[in-house]
Point group: C2
Chain length 236, copies 2
Amino acid sequence: MQQNETLHLSVDCVLFGYDDAGLKVLLINQKRTEPADSNVKPMSQLPGDLILLDEGLDEAAARVLYELTQLNGVYLKQFHAFGDPNRVKDLKDRAWLRSVRTQPEQRVVTVGYFGLVSLHDFNPKPASFAGSADWIDLQDIGELAFDHNEILSGAIDALQSQLESQHISFELLPKKFTISQLQSLYEVVLEKKFDKRNFRKNVKKMSHVVPLDEKQQGVMHKPAQLFSFNRDELES
Amino acid sequence: MQQNETLHLSVDCVLFGYDDAGLKVLLINQKRTEPADSNVKPMSQLPGDLILLDEGLDEAAARVLYELTQLNGVYLKQFHAFGDPNRVKDLKDRAWLRSVRTQPEQRVVTVGYFGLVSLHDFNPKPASFAGSADWIDLQDIGELAFDHNEILSGAIDALQSQLESQHISFELLPKKFTISQLQSLYEVVLEKKFDKRNFRKNVKKMSHVVPLDEKQQGVMHKPAQLFSFNRDELES
């Protein structure tokens, strides 16, 4: 068996921020080197870093996100490992990597995590070694560092395909929610409009969405019925 | 950034073998050391090994499965990376690891792959460094080496939850299949019985299953209608 001495492992986090207007993604800017080197062109990238030798993968994802953006308590879910032998060897990334890594030529396999949070509850603050940390509109995202466009696109697929069965929407909506809130979430994430009556009909078939014997309170309009998620029917 | 010098990456393959009678899993036996060491108790394990420095993850999974079992052309899908810092450090695994690895104490993160094949099409042959390679009934599987019981259970979840939307059943059934064949597959994988009429009704709602204008030929009973998968509707 060949030992793979010079392989490193990192985690990268794709955090989606949700509000009724659409989805954003949390990106950081690679910091400019000091002294400034005109060969190094800092790019936008997903928050990610090498894992520590004594930490698990989930733990690493939470730590790295916190260290780079000061965000805490985010539900992150592993979705895919990216292991192209050349994934950090592109010309566009080389100068920056050389400026921050002691072994910039070595292979890095990364494990991707994604999460979905309410945009208004989470205000990222960049770490001293990240130039900035911002919510960027999904449609405004250009070329990212490394293979991060590919990782982002894998995360979008995972988010869309897991929205129904998984914990993801459970984490985002309030404990008791209306069908309109659920429909907005589905429309934004799946990027399509649903007919109100059909959506309501489909919700009734979802075993993990339970109608409550309760209505909204303190609203000006006709109070809507409230629903909650049945934890037992959710996949973890 | 701390460099994780002493971390290794492996792949492990959970290959499910299907026939009408149930699901089996391909396991290999760790080979006894020569000279025999009574401290080393070879266990059953999933086919897996360290990746090579210049190969991608999918490539590594196909190579490792082939090298250990001589099986080729299997559709394998990545499902999860397992990175508990202590996953290969259990007492039960230590003596065997010491007998085969030059750095048995070092951390190994593994990327799990799963696949589903027809039991009768794939006859594994153990490599010289595997004691044996056999299809084992799912319910007969006892304690496996390392965290392989956990990996197996993750693969079962992935298989069950992806059976409908994904490429998995597409790979297994013939190009043109009957509803009975599809129902058998669902019943075996999901471990439950379906009512024939309800199953047929549900199949009609599956956008990736297309009725053909064709019937079975050369059968003694009343020929059944044939169906095929619509590739465009399948997730990769």
